[in-house]
Point group: C2
Chain length 145, copies 2
């Protein structure tokens, strides 16, 4: 496992990452967060250029909340932050994968990860994970994520 | 690890999965493929309703190729198919995670997975994986994926 030390550093406009990453028509790119230690895929969210620059500069996952229309510093309200140990871009530059150290749970439902709805061959749904913590304890109020 | 047996079966229009999954304005939803055995995140591609229905019915990953504007049965040209052992939908219904058995390599570049560009804190890029097979041997011609 390669780990990239993340330091407080501004990204130059001509940094190679900007010519590699393709943002969609909304200026966003999907970012997958995977646990470095267990390999568990935790969540997928979106980043704009500013969120990606902040993530690289701080080493803490920062997304763009499409619902709230602003930067979403993962854990800002729940405390469940993600420390980014490696950030990777795929072959065609339109998806990001981050290997992270997850503090607490990743899902706003209080579950370890967001992928708890298993779909059967007939299209039926089975919930395969239960909350480990009460979202009320994470947010105080019902999450708007 | 829960495994869902996939059988040849048509999905009903009122199958629960259709009310759970949210397709974007282009009728697509992102689908992440992860190796069941190693946890390696292989790739992220897109599915429309037809691709998801076929994937569930056949147990073989079928995506929608945005570049070619048609269904993309993973491995149809390269032979590098994906057998889906579990298909999951996230908490807000806008991302799919598949646990797959990958035949050969997942990336059209001949690499094991698509996430081989590691981004440093300054935005520099380091290629952290090399092709395991020659794409020419997978496709005969240069890949258009």
């Amino acid at each position: 496992m390669t780990e990239t030390p993340m330091t407080e550093k501004a990204l130059e406009d001509d940094a190679p990452v900007w010519s590699l990453v393709t943002f969609n028509e909304d200026g966003l790119v999907p970012a997958i967060a995977q646990r470095l230690d267990t390999g568990e895929v935790l969540m997928m969210a979106w980043m704009n250029r500013e969120a990606l620059a902040e993530t690289l500069a701080t080493g803490k996952a920062c997304y763009w909340s499409r619902g709230r229309g602003r930067l979403w510093r993962k854990g800002e309200s729940s405390g469940q932050s993600q420390t980014v140990k490696s950030l990777r871009v795929d072959c065609d530059g339109d998806t990001i994968l981050m290997l992270v150290e997850q503090k607490g749970v990743a899902c706003h439902t209080g579950r370890s990860n967001c992928f708890f709805n298993e779909v059967g061959a007939s299209g039926d749904i089975k919930v395969i994970a239960e909350p480990l913590v009460d979202p009320e304890d994470l947010y105080g109020t019902r999450s708007k994520h």
